[in-house]
C-alpha cells in the first residue's frame, strides 16, 4: 500500500523538511523521522526538532517516482533522496544550531525557501 499518499483530510498535517524538502505528515516525521536527513536532524520522536526543522509552509508539491532519472529531481537536488513527495519551496529557516551542525558535518545545506536561487 502506498505510504506516501496523504488523504486530503490529512493534508493539513503535512510538513516539509527544511533540508531535503520531503513532505510528510507530522505523524510520520515523528514516527519515522526524515528518510533523507534523519542522520543529522534526528527528527524521530522529537516534536521539538520537528517543529524547528520542518515547516508547515511549503508550496509546489512534487512527486518523485524516480529520483535518479528525473530532471526535476536533479534540478531540485533531490536525486540522492528516496522517492516520495517533495516541495519546491519550503518557507522557514533552520535554527542556527542545526545549521552549524550541518556545516560541521560537511553537509552543504541548500535553503529551500528560495534564497538559494538568488545566488545562482
Amino acid at each position: 500500500m502506498s505510504e506516501n499518499y496523504v488523504a486530503p483530510g490529512q493534508q493539513r498535517y503535512l510538513r516539509a523538511c527544511m533540508v531535503c524538502s520531503i513532505v510528510m505528515t507530522y505523524a510520520r516525521f515523528r514516527d519515522e523521522g526524515c528518510p533523507n536527513c534523519e542522520d543529522f536532524l534526528h527528527l524521530q520522536g522529537s516534536p521539538d526538532q520537528i517543529d524547528s526543522c520542518t515547516s508547515q509552509v511549503f508550496e509546489g508539491i512534487i512527486t518523485i517516482a524516480n529520483p535518479q532519472k528525473s530532471w526535476v529531481a536533479k534540478w531540485q537536488r533531490l536525486d540522492g533522496y528516496v522517492k516520495g513527495v517533495y516541495a519546491t519551496k519550503v518557507s522557514g529557516q533552520l535554527p542556527d544550531d542545526v545549521r552549524t551542525t550541518l556545516e560541521d558535518d560537511g553537509i552543504q545545506y541548500i535553503p529551500r525557501d528560495g534564497s538559494a536561487t538568488e545566488a545562482d
Partner: protein
C-alpha cells in the same frame, strides 16, 4: 574530511558511470576538476573498486590486507578518530580504537561494496551477483571487465530500465547479504563491547559513527554541481503540462503518488519519473499539473482514471528552455515586526488587519495584535438552539464588531475566565491574551495575508488610538498613508538613471530606455560598457541620483509626494531636504523620482494649503499641511490636528474685506503685516481673520508651514500699508486746522488751540534768522501769518517775509535764545510789555524780570516740571499752565471757562488749588514786603504739608492782608473784570478763602508738585504782573519767591 572527500570521489566515479545524462561537456569537466582536486586517495579506491569488482567475493585475508592498506592510507582520519576518543577511558582506549576502526572499515567496506555495485548497473548486478555466488571459483574477471566496458560504451540509453533499481537501500541490503557471516560475528562483538560502555559513550560513539556516515549519503554530488550545469537537455525526460481542476492540484499529485507506489514492482509500473504542481490561489500556474516522463503516452497511462485531471483534453509539452522556470522559487520576504498583515484564519477575524509584534526564529509563526471581536458572552446562547439542533461549531454567526478589549465587560459575565494584570493592562480572557485592549495571538504565517495588505487609514487609526500617548497617533496615521499601495514593486520608467548593484552586471550605470515587466533595458552611460544596451532584471537595480537633484518621493515611504533636493546618498538611502518644510528626510532611492515640479502637493480635493476650514461649530482651522489622505489643521486655539477631508465641515471662503482692530484700535485687514504684542513678538501677514482670531503667515519659521494664530487684540500693525489709524480714518483734521499750522512747533495734539489764542507772540520779538540769504541777521518781528513772519532787520532797515521756522527768538536784553511759545513767563513779560503799551524803559525791568524768571522757569521746566507734567496726562498740562497764565490774562473772559471747565481734568482739582491757594496769596505777599510773613506762613504750610497749607490760612491770612492790596494792584494793573472773575473776584470777598479751603486739601495732596509749582509760578509772575504798576518790586520777589517754594515742592514730589 578525508573520508568524505574520498567518498565523494567515489561517488563521482560512480556518477561518471551512472550518468544517464552525460550531455553537457561541462559536466565531465567538472568531474575532472573534482578528481584533480582530490588527493591520491581518490585514485586508490578507484583502482580498488576495479579490483573488487573483478573479485566480488574476496576472502577474509584479502580483505584484511585491504583494510591494512586503507588504514595506512588514511592516517589523517585515524588521528582524528584518536583525538576524538581522547576523553575516553585509557583502558578502553586501545580496544575501542581497534573496534571503531574495524567498524569504520566495515562501513567503508560496505560503501565500497556499494560503489562497486553501483559501478555495475542495476539489474545486471543482481543477476551477476547470483552468478558470482555460484561461480565463486570461476575466473570471470575478463567477462566482468568486458561487461563493464561494454556498458560504458553502450551508454545509458539502453540501460535505463534497469537503472531504476539502482537505489541505495537495495545496495545496502545486498552488501549485508554479501558479508553475512562476518557481519554476524562483528555484530556480536560489537554488542558485547557496547554493552560494556555506558550509555553516554555509546551515544557518543553512535553519533560519531552515524554523523560520519551521513555525508556519504548522496550529499556530495548534490551540493557541488551548480545549477546552471543542471539545465535540462534533450536527454532528459520531457515535461508536459496537464490540465486539472483548479484547487485540486495537490490532491492530484498525491493521487499520482499513490498510484506510483501501488503499482511499483508490478509489471505495469507507472512510467513517469516525476509530477509536480505549482498551484495556489494567486499562482499563474494553477489549473495545471506538470508531469515528467519520457513519452507523452506514458502520461496518459499514468494519469488514466485519476480524478480531477484531464490529460486527454489538454496537454502541452513544456519547452526545454522553459523547464527551469517551472520550478522557480521566489523567496517570500520575511515578516518584520511592525508590519501590517491580514488575518485569514480565525474565521471571526478573517480579513481583519493585524500588526506583527514578533516573528519566531524560523519565520513560520508570528505574534500579531489585532482588535478583538468579542461579545463577552452576550450571545452565548445555549448549545441547543431553538429548533433543538445542536449548533454546528465553526459556523460563524454575525460577528461582533471590532472593539478594544474591555476588562469591565469581561468581568460582568465571565469573571472566572478573566485573569490578568491591570498594571500592564494584559489580560487573559477565555484563553485569549489581550494587551492594552488588543488581542495578541501567535499565528502561523500561512494564516496571514502578507502581501497586498493595503491597510486603510481608518483601520490603522484604530490601532493608533489604542496607544497611551497621543504622540504615537500621528506617526501611525502617517504610516497608514504610507502603506497604501506599498505592495507595488519598484517601477522604473524610461529615462530613469539606474545603477546595477547586484549580480553580474554590478556597477553598471545607465539610462533606462525600455521597461517590460521585470526586464529593464539600459543604455549604459558609464564605464567600459558605455554605449551598449543591456537588459537587466528589475531586481538588483536601483535608481541613481546625484546630490543636488530635485526629486519627488513617489511611493513606499510615508514621505510620499514630498519634493526636495538630494543632500546625501548612502547606498540606496537618499536624504533630501524637502521644499515644503525644509526638513531632512531619508528614503530609499527606489521611492524617488526626478521631479519637475516644485513644492509638495498643495491640495487635497477642494482643500488646499492655507485654506481656512470649519471643523465644527466652534472650531475653525487653517490647513498647514496636506497629506495624501489627510490634512493637518491649525485651529484657532493654536493646536494642530490631523483630519480627514470628511471631518471638515466646509471651507470658509476668504473674506476679502474682513476687518479687525488691533490692540491700538487700528484697523487691520487681510495681508496686513502685524506683530504680536508681547509674547514672542512674531510678525506675520494676515491670511485669515475669523472673529477675534487672526491667522498669520510668517516666513521666519517653518513650523506649521509658517502659520500661527493669535487674537486680533494682541497684535499691532507694523506696516505702513496696514497702519490705518482710526483717528485718521477721516480727513486729516490737523492738516486742516489753521491753529496747528500757525504754531507748528507746538506738539500738535496737546491742546493747540488755547495756546494760539490771542496775538501771535512772535510779534515784537527779537529774532535771528537761521537760514537762507538773511541768515544770521537780527531783527524784530513786525507781523506774522500762520506760517511766516515779517521781520524788520536791524541791519538793513527793511522788512522781509520769512518762514517762522527759520527764526530763532532771542531775548532782547541778553540775546539768549528763548522760546516764545513755551511758557507764560516770557509771555508774561511779553504781555506785560504789551500791556505796558510798548517798549519803555520802565518795561525793561519787566522784561528783565521776565528774563530773570526765565532761568527759574527754565530750571523748573527742564527738570522738575516736565516730569511733573508727565505724570499727569499730557493734555492737561497746557491748559493748566494756560490757566495759570490765562487767569491773569486779559483775555480771560472767554478762557476761564476753558480752564475751569476743561477736561484736563485730573487737574480739575488742581486748577482751583492753583488759583486760590498758591497764587493768590503769593503774589500779594511778594508784592508787598509786608506780606512776607504771609508768604512765610504759606511756605511753612508748604513745609508742613497741605493740611497746614490748606487750612492755613495763609491764604486767608494773606488774603486778608493782601486783599487790601491786591485788588488795588490788580485793579490798577488790569481792570479787566474778566480777571476778577476767577481769582480776585472771588478773592475779594469770600471766594478766595473758600477756594483756598476747598482746594488745597485735595489739590495739594493729590498733586503736591503742581501745587508747588503753581505756587511759585503765579507767585512769581503774578507778582510781576500784578504789579503792572509797581514793576520794580514785583520781579525781584518774584524771582526770589519762585525758586524757593519751588524747590521744596519738587523735593516733596519726588
Amino acid at each position: 574530511m578525508a573520508s568524505n572527500s574520498w567518498q565523494f570521489a567515489g561517488a563521482d566515479d560512480e556518477s561518471d558511470d551512472d550518468n544517464f545524462n552525460p550531455a553537457p561537456a561541462d559536466m565531465s569537466d567538472e568531474e575532472n576538476n573534482d578528481n584533480d582536486e582530490e588527493t591520491t586517495h581518490n585514485h586508490r579506491p578507484a583502482g580498488k573498486t576495479v579490483r573488487q569488482a573483478s573479485s566480488p567475493v574476496p576472502d577474509e585475508e584479502e580483505e584484511e590486507e585491504e583494510h591494512d592498506e586503507e588504514e595506512d592510507a588514511r592516517p589523517a582520519k585515524r588521528s582524528r578518530r584518536d583525538h576524538h576518543d581522547d576523553d575516553e577511558d585509557e583502558e578502553q582506549d586501545e580496544e575501542e580504537n581497534e573496534e571503531i576502526d574495524e567498524e569504520e572499515e566495515e562501513d567503508e567496506e560496505e560503501e565500497e561494496d556499494e560503489e562497486d555495485e553501483d559501478d555495475v548497473h542495476g539489474g545486471n548486478r543482481r543477476k551477476r551477483r547470483n552468478k558470482d555466488r555460484r561461480a565463486a571459483f570461476f575466473d570471470i574477471e575478463a567477462e566482468v571487465d568486458d561487461e563493464d566496458e561494454g556498458e560504458d560504451e553502450v551508454g545509458d540509453g539502453e540501460e535505463i530500465e534497469d537503472f531504476i533499481d539502482n537505489a541505495h537501500p537495495d545496495d545496502i541490503a545486498d552488501s549485508g547479504r554479501l558479508n553475512d557471516d562476518r557481519r554476524h560475528r562483528e555484530l556480536d562483538r560489537r554488542r558485547e563491547m557496547e554493552a560494556s560502555l555506558d550509555a553516554e559513550k555509546q551515544a557518543e560513539i553512535l553519533r560519531e559513527r552515524y554523523g560520519k556516515r551521513a555525508p556519504a549519503r548522496g550529499y556530495g554530488d548534490m551540493a557541488i554541481v551548480p545549477r546552471r550545469l543542471l539545465l535540462p537537455s534533450v536527454e532528459d525526460p520531457s515535461i508536459w503540462a496537464v490540465r486539472c481542476k483548479e484547487g485540486k492540484e495537490r490532491e492530484v499529485i498525491f493521487s499520482i503518488m499513490r498510484r506510483i507506489e501501488e503499482r511499483m514492482g508490478t509489471k505495469n509500473e507507472v512510467p513517469i519519473t516525476a509530477a509536480f504542481e505549482r498551484g495556489g490561489i494567486n499562482s499563474v500556474m494553477k489549473g495545471y499539473i506538470y508531469v515528467e516522463a519520457q513519452r507523452q503516452n506514458d502520461i496518459l497511462v499514468a494519469l488514466d482514471g485519476i480524478l480531477n485531471v484531464y490529460p486527454r483534453s489538454n496537454m502541452h509539452l513544456v519547452e526545454i528552455k522553459d523547464m527551469p522556470d517551472l520550478l522557480r522559487v521566489i523567496k517570500t520576504p520575511n515578516l518584520e515586526p511592525g508590519a501590517w498583515v491580514r488575518l485569514k484564519k480565525p474565521a471571526k477575524h478573517a480579513g481583519d488587519l493585524a500588526q506583527v509584534i514578533d516573528v519566531t526564529e524560523n519565520g513560520l509563526e508570528a505574534r500579531v495584535r489585532f482588535i478583538p471581536r468579542l461579545d463577552y458572552g452576550v450571545r452565548d446562547d445555549p448549545v441547543f438552539q431553538a429548533d433543538g439542533k445542536r449548533k454546528r461549531p465553526g459556523v460563524p454567526g454575525p460577528r461582533p464588531p471590532q472593539r478594544l478589549f474591555s476588562e469591565a465587560e469581561a468581568r460582568k459575565r465571565h469573571p472566572r475566565y478573566l485573569q490578568g494584570n491591570p498594571q500592564t493592562n494584559s489580560w487573559n480572557y477565555n484563553g485569549d491574551d489581550f494587551e492594552n485592549g488588543f488581542q495578541v495571538k501567535d499565528i502561523k504565517i500561512q494564516q496571514l495575508e502578507v502581501k497586498n495588505v493595503n491597510p486603510t487609514l481608518e483601520e490603522v487609526t484604530k490601532f493608533a488610538s489604542g496607544a497611551e500617548d497621543g504622540t504615537e497617533n500621528l506617526d501611525l496615521k502617517a504610516l497608514a498613508a504610507t502603506l497604501k499601495d506599498s505592495a507595488k514593486s519598484v517601477a522604473y520608467v524610461p529615462g530613469d538613471i539606474i545603477e546595477v548593484y547586484e549580480g553580474e552586471q554590478q556597477g553598471v550605470i545607465g539610462k533606462a530606455t525600455n521597461v517590460q515587466g521585470d526586464i529593464v533595458t539600459l543604455q549604459v552611460t558609464e564605464g567600459d560598457l558605455a554605449g551598449r544596451t543591456i537588459d537587466v532584471p528589475n531586481k538588483g537595480l536601483r535608481k541613481r541620483f546625484r546630490i543636488g537633484d530635485h526629486v519627488k518621493v513617489i511611493g513606499g515611504s510615508r514621505f510620499r509626494d514630498e519634493v526636495g533636493m538630494v543632500v546625501k546618498i548612502v547606498d540606496d538611502r537618499v536624504t533630501l531636504l524637502t521644499d515644503q518644510t525644509n526638513t531632512e528626510i531619508t528614503v530609499f532611492s527606489k521611492d524617488l523620482r526626478e521631479a519637475s515640479d516644485i513644492g509638495g502637493q498643495g491640495s487635497l480635493g477642494q482643500y488646499s494649503l492655507l485654506d481656512l476650514v470649519q471643523l465644527d461649530a466652534t472650531t475653525v482651522g487653517c490647513i498647514v499641511k496636506v497629506d495624501r489622505e489627510s490634512v493637518v489643521v491649525l485651529d484657532q486655539n493654536g493646536d494642530t490636528k490631523q483630519v480627514q477631508p470628511s471631518q471638515i465641515t466646509n471651507k470658509l471662503p476668504k473674506r476679502k474685506f474682513a476687518v479687525a482692530a488691533d490692540r491700538n484700535g487700528s484697523e487691520i485687514r487681510l495681508d496686513d503685516v502685524v506683530r504680536e504684542y508681547g509674547g514672542q513678538q512674531r510678525q506675520g501677514k494676515i491670511i485669515h481673520i475669523h472673529r477675534s482670531y487672526i491667522f498669520l503667515h510668517t516666513t521666519t519659521t517653518n513650523e506649521n508651514a509658517g502659520v500661527f494664530v493669535t487674537r486680533a487684540n494682541s497684535v499691532t500693525t507694523v506696516a505702513a500699508k496696514g497702519g490705518r489709524n482710526t483717528a485718521t480714518a477721516g480727513p486729516d483734521l490737523s492738516a486742516m486746522n489753521p491753529a496747528l499750522k500757525r504754531n507748528p512747533t507746538a506738539s500738535g495734539k496737546q491742546m493747540p488751540a488755547p495756546r494760539t489764542f490771542g496775538p501771535d507772540r512772535a510779534i515784537n520779538q527779537t529774532v535771528v534768522i537761521r537760514r537762507g540769504g538773511y541768515k544770521g541777521l537780527l531783527g524784530i518781528v513786525k507781523d506774522t501769518t500762520d506760517t511766516h513772519a515779517r521781520v524788520e532787520l536791524h541791519s538793513r532797515g527793511k522788512i522781509i517775509t520769512i518762514p517762522k521756522a527759520d527764526l530763532s527768538f532771542k531775548d532782547k536784553v541778553t540775546g539768549k535764545t528763548i522760546d516764545i511759545n513755551q511758557r507764560g513767563g516770557s509771555r508774561g513779560g511779553f504781555g506785560g510789555g504789551g500791556r505796558g503799551g510798548g517798549e519803555f524803559g520802565s518795561r525793561t525791568p519787566m522784561a528783565s524780570g521776565g528774563s530773570d524768571r526765565t532761568p527759574a522757569w527754565g530750571s523748573s521746566r527742564s527738570t522738575a516740571r516736565t516730569p511733573a507734567w508727565n505724570r499727569d496726562a499730557g493734555g492737561s498740562r497746557t491748559p493748566a499752565w494756560n490757566d495759570g497764565s490765562r487767569t491773569v490774562n486779559p483775555y480771560d473772559g472767554s478762557r476761564t471757562p476753558y480752564g475751569g471747565a476743561t477736561a484736563y481734568g485730573g487737574i480739575g482739582s488742581r486748577t482751583p488749588a492753583w488759583h486760590s491757594g498758591s497764587r493768590t496769596p503769593a503774589p500779594d505777599s511778594f508784592g508787598h514786603g509786608s506780606k512776607t510773613p504771609a508768604w512765610s506762613a504759606g511756605s511753612d504750610s508748604w513745609g508742613s504739608k497741605t493740611p497746614g497749607y490748606g487750612a492755613s490760612a495763609p491764604t486767608p491770612g494773606a488774603s486778608g492782608d493782601a486783599w487790601g492790596y491786591t485788588p488795588g494792584a490788580s485793579g490798577g494793573g488790569n481792570s479787566s473784570s474778566a480777571y476778577d472773575a476767577p481769582t480776585p473776584g472771588g478773592g475779594l470777598s469770600a471766594p478766595t478763602p473758600g477756594a483756598a479751603l476747598n482746594a488745597p486739601t485735595p489739590g495739594a495732596y493729590s498733586a503736591p508738585t503742581p501745587a508747588a509749582v503753581s505756587a511759585p509760578t503765579p507767585g512769581a509772575w503774578q507778582g510781576g504782573w500784578g504789579s503792572g504798576g509797581d514793576a520794580v518790586s514785583a520781579p525781584t520777589p518774584g524771582a526770589l519767591g519762585a525758586p524757593t517754594p519751588g524747590a521744596p515742592g519738587y523735593a516733596d514730589d519726588d
